[in-house]
């Protein structure tokens, strides 16, 4: 069976080699242009550079089973970067 990741509305369940890893959802957003929704999540793992890994994947809001897929389109990536920046900025403003 292929590995999968499912977003159940609360958590992202990564299933790899028949093992389930529960990831915390950090943010979500929709995009009317692509008619897809996006979810940012983390398994709290750290990269070799000491940074926390945030995964961003997309899913179709029309699918009952919200299976996640990788984001490879450059425009989607650009949008994700913008969203992250927006989140970061709004957090900064709020903490002021």
């Amino acid at each position: 069976m292929d590995d999968t990741a499912i977003y159940n509305g609360e958590k992202v369940i990564l299933e790899k080699n028949n093992e389930e890893v529960e990831c915390d959802v950090l943010f979500t957003f929709d995009c009317e242009d692509t008619m897809r929704s996006y979810v940012g999540y983390t398994d709290h793992s750290m990269g070799k550079n000491g940074r926390k890994n945030i995964y961003v994947s997309s899913y179709s809001p029309f699918d009952k089973k919200q299976e996640l897929v990788n984001v490879t389109d450059e425009r989607e990536l650009a949008m994700i970067a913008e969203v992250l920046e927006e989140i970061d900025e709004s957090t900064e403003q709020k903490s002021k």
Partner: protein, 1434 residues
């Protein structure tokens, strides 16, 4: 085939009475309701026997102030048997001979075998087989059978009884109109009545008279079906609604109390639930509303079919009419309100969910429809496709938006519902408690209010000595504390209630008495004292409108909540997070300002030591001091680098201030004349001998004068002032705006050149540098000067003083200036002349952009930008971000997830983003870019766009298109420069050959002194020429590399960085192998040798060091070939030409190229291998044969020529395909080299994945190599002859070719989509190659065969060479054509070998022409031709 096998019980209803009655009170319970209703009915003359067995249905018609009008229907129910309709479908019939002892099981198997043999797929459905035994003519028992597909119903008896079904939802999924009456009415009759209602009633009345039971008017529709002069015909239809899909039943207790399972099953893909039920259970649920389908929670395809029976309670009555069993008018009203709200909300949610579910179904249907259309491969025009896409896209989009909206609304409603349910529960509890205590709700609440008053409660608790609990904050109270409080409160309330019932005293009095509290003076009572009237007998507050108030409050809160954002983040609540601080020693504090000093006289750049370090620039010896700061001169390139990289873009915050060097410290002292009111003093030095004027540098800057001839006056550097400039200064010295005084000093000037130029005989060459004051002092020189220094013009010519002039780059200016400075004979003297080129003022970039975009309606998304909406962030993440404790890696490719392929929907989006309008706009933009922009305008765009110079808004909408053009423009420039470099190298190596020859000749003993000197002189001249070439190479290479790394490629990187805010800078690493210090030292020696030589004008040293450096690079370049491509493993990578590297930051491209290229490289390999190992020898051997043999072969050529010339075309086509294929091969090679070159590092995991991905091709490669080795060894030991070997290899090549075709096929589609979406990569070449190979799948195979054939024939040709063909050209024309044709075929074969040989070397390796030259040079190539030429000259 229909059968009725099973029956179920149902109830047939007969209306006994239908009447509107009025009731003035609510019913206590159902029994009460029944009694009252029958009483009322009897009052109006309706009498019923066995009334307890009759059913009553009620509906509120009108709610009046003091009662209700009810529409009551009395029904008699009779039990009827309902047959289940089972449909069976005959799927197969046949017969077989019954063998002795065949069991029933075996017979069944036989039947299934026969079915399968007939191609019928046996699916899980139960099959019904009917056997018919007959005796055939041979008196054998034959079995005729009929197989039907049908389903048995498991049970018709109740199995599950739902005593209470209160949660979940019923979703009406299907409604249909059933015609129940077809009537005819006189028009006259209708005209008698006036209102619509009355007309309808007339029609209904007619139906009733005809015996049609019309009980419920709400679901009836009356439609006119026809009319004539007298009559109208009409149809009365009943709307039936099927509640089919139920996830969990939510049924009124009183309505349905029993259901029974009558079937289970699952829905097949794409099947409706009704169809599934019909298939599985044979029941048509569309015609009855009495079925419920409950889906399995875990398996949404599985369902259970329930039959609903109404048995116990034959009375339906609106719940609002029933009083709560807790007998209180007040409470029931409050609860009623809540119930009403709940009911309303419930209904709304159900409706919303229904809408949602139907829109989802609609969407699925639409997607099916679209994919069907697409599958059909219709021949549609572009416009039709676009409009089709647009139509469906818009619909889908609407659905999407609706869905989001609906979901939000459902969520809100659910929240509201939850709150209401909670409130209801609380109210019910209060009512129950009040009832238990024998109090009215108001009485109970009064007691509670008093007890809950903190003042009282505290005092009461104090008496019990537990008052300290209340002193604690509610959060601090333990569970035990809370339990005690609840218990005590309950006890106190009970005590007060008991006393209240007993004594009927005012509650406050009871409280006072019981707990000995002084309520009259207590602060706590202040609020209630207003309402408290001791004189009144009524002891309770009169109108405790608490519920109403609370409801209003809830509504208000809800309203406010609804207007709040989805999630409210408590901003100030996270004070405990302290951001991490970097250790002090890690914080580098430095000044961000980058000050670049430019000497406006000679355009030298200077920076301080900090900047040198910051940009890792080597410190030069040329230092000056400005404002007590030591500045070091830097190269123009370094200055350019600082300007490009220090500007304020997204990844650097440093700022550049270009400060023109002003008056240096040494000038400062005499700027102002103290006693002349701060008048500026301008000192002019006059040469006593010549009368020429000189001044210090600042004077030239001040007056924008032209400086020439540097001299030293009073130990200070001065320059000669032109007469014209002097006059200007002298004429304007008392200009009132900028007053200055002139001071003349007469000096004896010892000019620098005097010391160097004693020899009057030395020739002087005066060169005029035209300085354009309108273009930042851009220097122009005439073609003469360019030729003098062997510089190639690479820009447009302009005419200055009737001379053809060209722009000079800064490097070239420096080069010429240096040469001139050091020159002796001839002495080059530079004369500057100020000009103003007005005719050609470069247009501003914005003007060019305007020209491009004028009148074009460019949409924001024409360059495909996506916008996010509805961003929600988890609280934890916000906290974490605020804490600043982490930095993050953003990972968008999870190895385990599927790659987001360009699915239908996304393809649709991509397509739509270039809508018809967008497409038109972009096409027009492209046309303007290609056709309307002048070279100069393109140049302006190029200059502005490269680096990060244009950083205002980055014009995202149009950049894609502009970049494409600029890239092309930049690459053309690079190509020109590379061509110039190639020419220079070629000349250089020729010169080197000649120099080598002279050196050899100089060794001869018999040389006279004169001859020796002549050789020396010749050598010097050659060295000078070589040095010029080297200088030119250095300049061109630098320019080309600048264009590629900072310009052409920089365009992409910069835009990517700006657009995505992701920088790749951090991803670059050093080469993996150990750093070679020794080599670096050696390189450094050569490097500084070059610099020194350039500075000293030592051409011989320049040549020596340049060749040393190049050879050193070349020697240390090692390219290792592995299965997955070529890799640089040496310490250095030698690249004499400027190379551009596309695709380097794109793993996708890399994958696809590696895959395709691996296959193609194998084909190339096989082909070239053949040519190298077998055919080449053969053909080349022939070339060496003698001329006579050609003559002997005429006859043979004549015969073979036609066959050969037939093959010519085939070979040509094959060659073309081969070259395309080589493009693919080289794509990977270049890309991989690029990765090495740029120090990209992919981690091991990536390489592993890479290897795995290409496993197939590796395997394939291995097989091909093995096969070739096998053939070669057989050919080598004579087991097979050459022809057989060729044939075998051709077969292998063709096999490899077919694999390539497959791969190309797979990749071509993906590639196209990818290319469309990545305009930043120029992938046209690759695409064309893929397409060509796909369009000519046989080309290579055919060529291989033709090659074999040609070689076979050329055996007889005995070889031909160029000389032979020349000889042939003198033959009579008819023979000539024949022979030349044959010869050209043979020549073609030869060319194939050469071409493949060359291509193999050129494309399949990293090298190019120059590398080959270098190799030859290092291998001691003796340049025989040059030597001969030189010898001839002499």
């Amino acid at each position: 085939m229909e059968e009725f096998d099973f029956f179920d019980t149902d109830y047939d209803e007969k209306i006994l009475a239908k009447q509107i009655i009025r009731i003035d009170q609510k019913f206590k319970d159902l029994e009460d309701a029944r009694n009252i209703i029958f009483e009322k009915l009897e009052e109006s003359g309706n009498f019923f026997e066995n009334s307890e067995n009759l059913s009553i249905k009620c509906k509120i018609v009108e709610e009046q102030e003091d009662g209700y009008l009810l529409d009551v229907t009395v029904l008699e129910e009779t039990v009827v048997k309902v047959p289940y309709k089972i449909e069976k479908e005959e799927v197969f019939s046949g017969s077989f001979t019954l063998e002795n002892g065949m069991t029933e099981e075996e017979q069944k198997r036989k039947v299934f075998e026969l079915m399968m043999a007939d191609g019928i797929q046996i699916v899980g459905t139960k099959y019904d087989i009917q056997y018919d035994e007959i005796l055939d003519e041979d008196r054998e028992t034959k079995i005729n059978f009929v197989v039907s597909k049908g389903v048995n119903i498991n049970s018709s008896k109740p199995e599950i009884i739902y005593k209470e079904i209160s949660k979940g939802k019923i979703v009406p999924v299907y409604s249909f109109n059933e015609d129940i009456y077809l009537g005819k009415i006189k028009i006259e009759e209708l005209q008698e009545v006036s209102s619509e209602n009355e007309r309808s009633n007339l029609m209904l009345e007619k139906a009733r008279l005809d015996g049609i039971e019309i009980d419920n008017l709400t679901n009836l529709v009356i439609g006119i079906s026809g009319y004539n002069d007298d009559f109208i015909t009409y149809v009365i239809s009943k709307t039936n609604e099927i509640e089919a899909i139920v996830e969990q039943a939510r049924l009124q207790k009183d309505e349905i109390i029993e259901t029974s399972v009558v079937g289970t099953g699952s829905i097949d893909f794409g099947e409706s639930i009704e169809a599934a039920v019909q298939r599985n259970s044979g029941i048509d649920i569309r015609s009855s509303a009495n079925y419920i389908i409950i889906f399995d929670e875990t398996h949404t395809q599985k369902y259970t079919l329930h039959k609903v029976s109404i048995k116990k309670n034959n009375m339906t009555i609106p719940s609002s009419l029933l009083l709560n069993t807790l007998n209180s008018e007040l409470s029931s009203n409050q609860l009623k309100e809540i119930d009403f709200d709940i009911e309303k909300l419930h209904q709304e949610i159900v409706e919303l969910e229904h809408t949602l579910s139907s829109s989802f179904n609609k969407l699925i249907e639409r997607e099916d429809k679209i994919s069907q259309i697409l599958d059909k491969d219709l021949l549609l025009s572009d416009d039709e496709i676009v409009s089709l896409y647009e139509k469906y896209y818009n619909e889908q989009r609407e659905d999407y938006l609706n869905k989001i909206l609906l979901e939000r609304r459902i969520k809100e409603k659910n929240k509201k519902l939850k709150r209401l349910l909670k409130l209801k529960k609380k109210k019910e509890k209060e009512l129950l408690t009040a009832k238990e205590m024998g109090l009215s709700l108001d009485e109970y609440l009064d007691i509670v209010n008093i007890v809950e008053d903190n003042g009282f409660f505290k005092k009461m608790l104090d008496q019990l000595e537990i008052g300290n609990i209340l002193e604690k904050d509610s959060e601090e109270r333990s569970r035990k504390d809370k339990k005690i409080l609840r218990k005590v409160k309950k006890e106190i309330i009970e005590e007060i209630a008991l006393r209240y019932k007993k004594d009927n005293l005012p509650i406050l009095e009871i409280v006072e008495e019981l707990f000995d509290l002084d309520v009259s003076n207590g602060n706590a009572l202040e609020n209630v004292s207003v309402l408290y009237d001791p004189s009144s007998e009524v002891t309770i507050v009169e109108e405790p409108k608490t519920y109403n108030t609370q409801l209003a409050e809830i509504e208000r809160i809800e309203k406010n909540v609804a207007s709040l954002p989805e999630k409210v983040v408590n901003v100030g609540a996270t004070g405990e997070y302290e951001p991490l601080k970097a250790p002090d020693d890690m914080v580098e504090v430095y000044d961000n300002n980058v000050i670049l000093y430019e000497d406006s006289i000679n355009s030298n750049f200077y920076v301080n030591e900090r900047i040198l370090k910051l940009f890792n620039i080597e410190k030069s010896d040329d230092e000056i001091s400005i404002n007590d700061e030591i500045l070091y001169r830097i190269e123009y390139d370094d200055a350019q680098f600082i300007m490009n990289n220090a500007s304020s873009n997204s990844y650097s915050y440093t700022r550049v201030e270009i400060v023109e060097e002003d008056k240096t410290e040494e000038d400062a002292e005499d700027i102002f004349e103290d006693d002349q009111d701060n008048l500026e003093k301008i000192t002019i030095y006059v040469d006593r001998v010549t009368g020429e004027f000189y001044a210090k540098k600042y004077v030239f800057i001040r007056f924008n004068a032209v400086a020439s001839n540097q001299v030293i006056i009073n130990d200070k550097t001065c320059y000669k002032l032109d007469l014209e400039d002097f006059r200007f200064i002298a004429d304007n010295f008392n200009n009132e705006y900028s007053p200055y005084v002139l001071d003349y000093q007469y000096v004896d000037i010892k000019r620098e050149e005097d010391s160097l130029h004693n020899d009057d005989k030395n020739e002087e060459v005066i060169m005029t540098f035209y300085r354009d004051l309108n273009d930042n002092n851009q220097i122009y020189v005439s073609t003469e000067i360019l030729n003098l220094f062997e510089l190639t013009p690479n820009n447009e010519e302009i005419e200055i003083d009737d001379e053809r002039c060209y722009k000079l780059s800064n490097d070239a200016v420096q080069l010429i200036t240096n040469i001139a400075k050091k020159s002796e004979n001839p002495k080059y003297i530079i004369k500057f002349e100020n000009i103003s080129i007005n005719k050609k003022v470069r247009p501003h970039v914005e003007t060019v952009l305007n020209k491009l975009t004028e009148n074009l309606d460019i949409g924001a998304k024409d360059y495909k930008r996506f916008t996010a909406s509805n961003i929600k962030v988890s609280k934890e993440f916000v906290k974490e971000l605020k804490s600043g404790n982490y930095l993050y890696n953003i990972v968008h490719i999870i190895p385990s997830l599927a790659k987001a392929t360009f699915k239908f929907l996304r393809k649709l989006c991509a397509k739509l983003f270039l809508s018809k309008r967008g497409k038109k706009v972009m096409l027009e933009l492209e046309r303007r870019l290609n056709e309307e922009l002048t070279e100069e305008e393109i140049e302006v765009l190029f200059d502005e766009y490269k680096g990060t110079q244009l950083k205002t808004d980055m014009n995202n909408q149009i950049n894609g298109m502009i970049l494409k053009k600029l890239r092309q423009h930049g690459l053309e420039k690079v190509e020109k420069l590379n061509d110039a470099i190639k020419d220079d190298y070629s000349n250089l190596f020729t010169l080197l050959g000649s120099i080598k020859t002279i050196d050899r000749e100089k060794q001869y003993d018999d040389l006279t002194e004169k001859e020796f000197n002549a050789l020396e002189l010749e050598k010097k001249s050659l060295i000078d020429q070589a040095a010029e070439r080297i200088k030119n190479i250095l300049i061109c290479r630098k320019d080309a590399n600048n264009l590629l790394s900072g310009g052409v490629h920089g365009l992409e990187e910069d835009f990517k960085a700006v657009a995505t805010k992701l920088s790749y800078v951090g991803m670059r690493f050093a080469k993996n192998n150990k750093f070679d210090n020794e080599l670096q030292h050696e390189l450094s020696e050569y490097g500084s040798g070059i610099t020194r030589a350039l500075e000293n004008g030592d051409n011989e040293a320049l040549l020596e060091n340049f060749m040393g450096l190049e050879s050193c690079y070349f020697d240390n370049t090692k390219i290792k070939t592995g299965l997955t491509g070529k890799r640089s493993v040496g310490s250095k990578y030698y690249s004499p030409l400027a190379e551009q590297f596309d695709y380097r930051d794109d793993p996708f491209i890399r994958d696809i190229f590696t895959t395709v290229a691996l296959s193609s490289s194998m084909v190339s390999m096989v082909n070239s291998y053949r040519v190298h190992q077998i055919e080449a020898n053969e053909v080349l051997a022939k070339q060496q044969s003698e001329v006579e043999k050609v003559n002997n072969s005429y006859d043979y050529i004549d015969q073979a020529s036609s066959e050969i010339s037939n093959n010519k075309d085939i070979i040509q086509e094959g060659l073309k395909a081969q070259s395309h294929q080589d493009v693919l091969t080289s794509a990977t090679t270049i890309e991989r080299s690029a990765l090495d070159m740029n120090n990209w590092s992919f981690n091991n995991a990536y390489h592993q994945a890479d290897d795995l991905g290409h496993n197939f091709y590796n395997q394939f490669h291995q097989n091909v190599t093995n096969s070739i080795n096998d053939i070669t060894s057989k050919y080598g030991n004579g087991t097979i002859d050459q022809f057989e070997a060729l044939q075998s290899i051709t077969d292998i090549a063709n096999n490899a070719q077919s694999s390539l075709i497959k791969v190309c096929n797979e990749c071509s589609g993906i590639m196209k989509t990818y290319a469309e979406n990545h305009p930043n990569f120029d992938l046209r070449g690759i695409q064309e190659s893929l397409d060509y190979i796909l369009e000519h799948p046989d080309a290579l195979s055919k060529m291989n065969q033709a090659m074999t054939d040609t070689i076979k024939i050329s055996n007889g040709l005995q070889g031909l060479s160029k000389n032979h063909i020349e000889a042939l050209s003198s033959l009579p024309s008819d023979i000539l054509s024949t022979v030349v044709c044959a010869a050209s075929a043979a020549g073609l074969a030869l060319n194939v070998s050469h071409s493949l040989n060359k291509k193999y070397l050129k494309k399949n390796d990293y090298r190019n022409d120059v590398v080959e030259m270098m190799e030859q040079y290092l291998n001691g190539f003796d340049y025989q031709d040059n030597e001969n030429e030189l010898a001839k000259k002499r």
